[in-house]
Every structure is written in C-alpha cells, then in structure tokens.
C-alpha cells in the first residue's frame, strides 16, 4: 500500500486504510525516541561507574581476594575473608576455606593455606600430580592435563577432614 505524496513533509493516508485500530487505557505521553539509547547508555554506564567507585567491581578472583585480604569489602565480592598471610602467591592472600580456592591459585597457595591434613605428598598422591609439575603451577593449568583433576574436585577433597 502506498500513500500519496503531497509535500516533502506530509503525506496523505490512503482512502481505504488497513490500519488495525489502536486503543490503550493508559495515559501515555510521547517522548523522543532517543530516550531508549540514552537511558540504556546512561543508566547502564552509571551503575558500572557506581560499582567501581564504591569498590564493588572486580573482574578477576585476584582482585577480589586482594580486596578482601586488604581489609576491604570482603563480603561484597563473595570470595570470603581470606587469611592474608602474605607468604605466597602474587596477591599475598591465601584461601580461607576450600570454597575460596580459585583456578588462578597455585599449588603452593593451596598448601600454604594449611587445610587440616593436607600435605604436598598427599596432594600429589591423590591427584597423581608428577614431581615435574612445580608448586608454582596455577590450578587451572592442571585442569585437563592431570586426569580427574579440576578445581571443584580439589575443593571437595580439601573440605574432607584429613584431605
């Protein structure tokens, strides 16, 4: 269906319009269409900026644990308090509980956390980790290399008394 063109700024509706009637019981008011992208960008960006400004923004577990270990908003990042001995790892923090163990953590950090009954020998024996793999290896690098090893299984093992 085409509308007859009258001027450059107006047009004539066809005599036999096929438009489906409209009605709404709400009081509605037209707003500029630009409201959609403006609200999307301003509100979305605003929440992100607010999260960053208030310390509720972390894109890696390292940031989160570092924040927690530094006495910051531990609860906000959901990674727990951290024990923060500062003896190993590039963030100076250690997992406080098995659930805090993250894929970026090294074997050394897991051992330094002194979970009850967990020793290097026990850890290597349980997951058949060869001696050629150093303690500085991140856990996620073992995932897929060591058969039967993944962070979730390690957490479960660590939470069992005696390892």
């Amino acid at each position: 269906m085409t509308a007859a063109r009258t001027t450059s700024s107006t047009m004539r509706l066809p005599a036999r319009s096929r438009a489906v009637p409209t009605s709404t019981r709400l009081a509605t008011r037209r707003v500029p269409a630009v409201a959609i992208p403006l609200l999307a960008v301003l509100l979305g960006g605003g929440v992100v900026v607010a999260a960053q400004a208030t310390g509720h923004w972390a894109t890696t577990g390292r940031d989160a644990v570092a924040t927690a270990g530094g006495g910051g908003a531990a609860a906000s990042d959901g990674t727990g308090p951290g024990s923060g001995t500062g003896t190993s790892g590039d963030t100076g923090t250690l997992p406080a509980a098995p659930d805090d163990v993250k894929g970026w953590m090294t074997l050394q950090q897991v051992l330094d956390a002194t979970f009850p009954g967990v020793t290097e020998a026990g850890l290597r024996a349980r997951f058949a980790i060869p001696a050629t793999i150093g303690l500085e290896t991140p856990l996620k690098d073992l995932d897929g290399v060591i058969s039967g090893f993944d962070v979730a299984t390690l957490r479960t093992w660590l939470s069992t008394p005696g390892g």
Partner: protein, 317 residues
C-alpha cells in the same frame, strides 16, 4: 492476530475509512541517523569485547567472561545464600546484572538492541545474507516471502525455548553451584575463540551463526536467557513503542522491519517481552506520528475513557 480477527477489528473499529487525511511524513534521514547511532554503539561494544579477547590471548589478564551480565544472574542465588560467587563469575558480573535490571526497568530490551555484542554478530550475519539476496534476485525473493502458517506455529513454539534455557541456567547454577549453562553457551565460546577447542558451546555457536543467515537473531529469539530475564523485568517499564492508528498507513513495514518478528502493526503498545527496543519499526515507518516511544502514566487517558473498563462492564447474569 488471526486474519479473520484482523478483518473483524478493521470492520468494527476503523471509522476513518474513506477519509484522505494528511499526516506528517517521517524524514528518511531519521531512520538513517538512528541506525547509524545504533550500529556505531554496537560496533564500539563489539570492538571492546574483541580487544579484551585478543588481549587475554596475547598477554593474559582477566577473562572477558567477567563482563557477562548473565553471569551475575547465574551467581545471584549463590551470592545471596552463601556470600560467594560461582566459578567464572566475579563482582563485576553482579554489577552488570544490576545494570541490566535498571536498563530493562527504564528502557526495556535496550541492552539487546543497542549494546549486546552477540546480537550484533547475529544481526551482521543476517545483514550479509540480505545483501547477498539483493545481489541474487531469486534468493532475495525467497528471503522476502511471507512466513507460512506452519513456520509461524513452529516459531511460536521455539520462542518458548528462552524460558526453558533460563530455568536450566538459573536452576542449574542454584542447585549445583556451577555455571551449567556455560557448557552450551555460545557467548562463552565466542569469548574463548582464541583458545579454540571443539566443545558443545562451539557447536551451539556454529549452529547459531549458520541460522543467523536465514533467521534474524535466532539465539535472541529462541534461546537467550539474558533476553528472557530482561523481558520479564521490562514488563514493569513505563516506556514502550506505541502505534497510533490515526496516523497509521496499515502498510506493515514496521512488522517486516522487526528483527524479533513482532506484529507491531497489530499492536497498540509493544510490551512483548521480546521487544529489544532497536527502533527499527519506528525507522521503517513513513508516518511521523504512527509509531514512536511513549511513556505510560499510571492513570487512564482522557481519550480512552470512552472505552469500557473491565470493572464497568455489567456482571454476567
């Protein structure tokens, strides 16, 4: 709306038949400008994600997954009940989930239509297919053919898939404490494309990319759990696309332009959970006043007071 319903509505309600009224014309440049702004925003977001993916592949660093809003929804239950986030999610995911919630409350599915990089990829592929269709007339005619009743039924059923995926993703994450949807998530596959390995997620991504040449935004329509969440939240939004029959040509260009195949030309206010707020319907409409964005105020309008409200109808005897 069924054809017979539409005919009945036209017969009953269209009292300006036979009139030839003049209405303001929407400048063609409006649509061009809107598309330019939208595609520019989409390109910026997609470029940023590509930069993150490449940066991680080259120099390590944080995973782009930490910038996935749906990860925030997946980890929300675990975070609320234990104070921890599930693996692969971080506080940034939660902040982005909040951002999506706020955006959906204010501007409906605007994230999908203006920012989502996965939607951008699908749209771009469909655009390529349309361009090829313009160069090869038989293909173009096939692309422009009206959808048959059979396909519309299949399409309607497939659209319910978003709720199934949403239940699987959120329920699975809450029950297991892991991101079960990640194994089949095409977005996860896109983010790990630099370290490609054959996985179910890559298979889903491949199917989605192929389908994108035929169906606009297939993942958004049939499987996106983030779109489903956003659709639910957006039900509370006062902003919506609204059509006015007094200025409407009844040409259905709006419906044909809608990437989510919503029947805009048969609707007064587009409050469908699948509306992504892309404004393609507005841009396609030649009549300035026929379609636009309106905010709904929480009281009946004077022009609708003549309509019988449910409570005013006589009770059945």
């Amino acid at each position: 709306m069924a054809i017979e319903d539409r005919e009945a509505a036209l017969d009953a309600g269209n009292d300006r038949r036979g009139e030839r009224r003049e209405v303001p014309r929407r400048p063609v440049s409006w649509g061009r400008r809107t598309r330019l702004v939208r595609h520019s925003l989409q390109a910026v977001v997609l470029g940023y994600v590509a930069w993150l993916v490449l940066g991680r592949a080259v120099a390590g660093g944080s995973s782009p997954e930490s910038l996935c809003p749906f990860g925030g929804f997946e980890t929300l239950w675990t975070w609320l009940t234990t104070g921890r986030t599930v693996a692969h999610t971080h506080p940034a995911n939660l902040a982005l989930a909040l951002a999506i919630t706020v955006m959906a409350l204010a501007a409906r599915g605007s994230f999908c239509g203006w920012l989502c990089p996965l939607g951008t990829i699908q749209e771009a592929l469909y655009g390529v297919a349309r361009a090829v269709g313009r160069a090869i007339p038989p293909l173009g005619r096939w692309q422009r053919r009206p959808a048959g009743a059979g396909w519309r039924r299949v399409d309607a059923v497939l659209r319910q898939g978003r709720w199934v995926v949403l239940a699987f993703a959120l329920g699975g994450a809450a029950l297991t404490g892991t991101m079960v949807f990640r194994e089949v998530d095409p977005w996860s596959a896109v983010l790990s494309v630099a370290e490609f390995e054959l996985s179910l997620a890559f298979a889903v991504l491949a199917v989605m990319l192929v389908l994108s040449f035929v169906v606009p935004r297939p993942f958004c329509r049939y499987a996106c759990p983030l779109g489903a969440v956003q659709g639910l939240i957006s039900k509370a939004s006062p902003l919506a696309i609204q059509r006015d029959a007094d200025a409407c040509l009844g040409c259905d260009l709006c419906t044909r332009a809608c990437p989510m195949a919503l029947q805009v030309d048969e609707t007064t206010r587009v409050t469908d959970a699948q509306c992504i707020g892309c404004l393609e319907c507005v841009a396609a409409c030649p009549s300035q006043d026929a379609i636009g964005i309106s905010v709904a105020l929480p009281w009946p309008s004077s022009r609708s007071l003549d309509l019988p409200l449910e409570r005013d109808k006589e009770p059945a005897r």
